[in-house]
Assembly symmetry: C2
Homo-oligomer: 304 residues x 2
């Protein structure tokens, strides 16, 4: 039951294998901002859109070269590519392909969510084979506000192509309480209800190792929510942002790993991408050092 | 107070002026699907990404030529462009620029929503001047799940550039109840609370004519929600999808217009874009006829 139609493996099992081989739960977040890049990359880009996108593509390739050996996946944040227009989307596609060649899974941080017919187009854009090639990404983040209908096409892709999806439950930002912490009549808050919905959506998508293709995004900045989500959703893979620039540390996510070493992924973006701005020296070496340090710390707290 | 820094006018006032001059509240939705295009456009595109994107760009230009005289805005749905990769995003940018030249407002149907630093990148991508030119779009749809923080950068753009934003409240799809209709402890449902939050976020962004730059998306498929939202949010412009392919008719949105003729916009996509598949004949003429019919019906029910 864990083989999908094409003969590839369900997402949860792919992850178990990869985490086991690499002994890492670290996800390299790609948040490229031209003005923050090393001068050697953006020095002569000026305001030329193609040159700015080229600088971003080179930055992403350099980070992937540096950090790939200690990571299991990359998580490009689409906003930072979209802000460079269609040139930026070319850089996004380049980064995804380059990461795949490096043996990393690609998690498109898109936070898309739309009505059924539109959600089908988003699934085709990101987690289905396109233009005669493989899917751009192995997994995608999804906003649940439009309900089950908005995840259906991604469930179809999970079955057919072994892709994964991560439903936003409790996000890492200060303002996440505005909607996610609204108290429901039955005593739960909105994000807890969303977590239970994601668990339902993920039934029938659980791999041999007990992990579902439908995961959750839970902010590491809310350690109590991490534990609570794990209690509600033992079979969901958690994608945990918020460590580093957003203020959380590896110890804050320990409880996420009680369902196994691959049951949680820790996404770190700015503090790896821009490690050179703190550590000095070569930007790739700085990224590698920071990623290695985080990989080790996270592996230790995961208790495996 | 209604002049923004650059000397342009706040979004609500721009809309009042445009609706008054055009006597229309119709928004041309652009949902281009290559396989559904007229054969003359996609006939020889095959699987070549550039050719598919070119066909989409020509389709959008033709629809804009045909429908612009009876519309106030276009609403390109980003998913249908993203599914063609960076070539598709080039077609998106082309359609937006072409619509602006035709005197239409551009509402990017992006449904983005992210943490503050990422939301800033989305604002820069869609509603702020880019690459030395004007913003790609005049307004954008926003998913509220991440809270006020995710709309802040768009509020900044509203002040500086006169742009608008439409916060998803009650969406048009069948599955919208899953999260949006969850009952809160205080008796409201989630979308009603979101509508009140959007009203708060829009304070300080109200134009001379009493309309806020922060609007709401309310599905025309839920007429009771339309009336209820109007009661909660008298100063919000409503963007109303759901008429046509999704099953609602102009009469379902009458109550949205009680705050004035420009207080609601009706977005119709598939039944205009693909009118030729029902009516036959030239695809542009069919789109024009269907748009004209809808414009007239909507203006009549608006009661102005």
């Amino acid at each position: 039951m864990t083989q999908v139609e094409t003969g590839t493996t369900v997402f949860g099992d792919r992850l178990v294998d990869l985490v086991d081989r690499r002994r890492s739960q670290l996800v390299l977040g790609l948040d490229p901002v031209v003005e923050l890049l090393p001068v050697e990359l953006h020095g002569d880009a000026g305001d030329v859109p193609e040159a700015r996108a080229d600088a971003v593509a080179r930055f992403c390739r350099g980070l992937i070269d540096a950090a790939a050996p200690v990571c299991v996946a990359v998580k490009p944040q689409l906003a930072f590519f979209e802000t460079l227009g269609h040139h930026g989307m070319r850089a996004f596609e380049d980064a995804c392909a380059y990461a795949r060649e490096a043996g990393l899974l690609v998690i498109a941080d898109a936070k898309r969510g739309d009505i059924g017919s539109t959600a089908r187009a988003y699934a085709a854009a990101y987690v289905e084979p396109r233009d005669g090639g493989p899917p751009v990404a192995d997994a995608i983040t999804i906003n649940p506000y439009l309900g089950r209908e908005s995840v259906e096409p991604f469930l179809g892709a999970a079955k057919r192509y072994g892709s994964g999806l991560f439903v936003l439950a409790k996000t890492s930002n200060d303002g996440s309480a505005d909607v996610q912490d609204l108290r429901l009549r039955d005593g739960e808050v909105v994000w807890q209800n969303v977590a239970r919905l994601a668990r339902e959506w993920g039934e029938g998508h659980v791999g041999e190792h007990g992990l579902s293709s439908v995961g959750l995004v839970i902010g590491a900045t809310y350690p109590r929510a991490v534990g609570e989500a794990r209690r509600l959703c033992p079979q969901q893979v958690f994608l945990l942002p918020g460590i580093g620039a957003q203020g959380a540390g590896p110890a804050d996510v320990a409880r996420a790993f009680t369902s196994g070493p691959a049951s949680a992924l820790v996404a770190v973006s700015r503090s790896i991408d821009y490690a050179f701005r703190v550590r000095g020296g070569d930007w790739r070496a700085a990224a590698r050092l920071e990623a290695t340090r985080l990989r080790d710390e996270i592996w230790a707290v995961s208790g495996w």
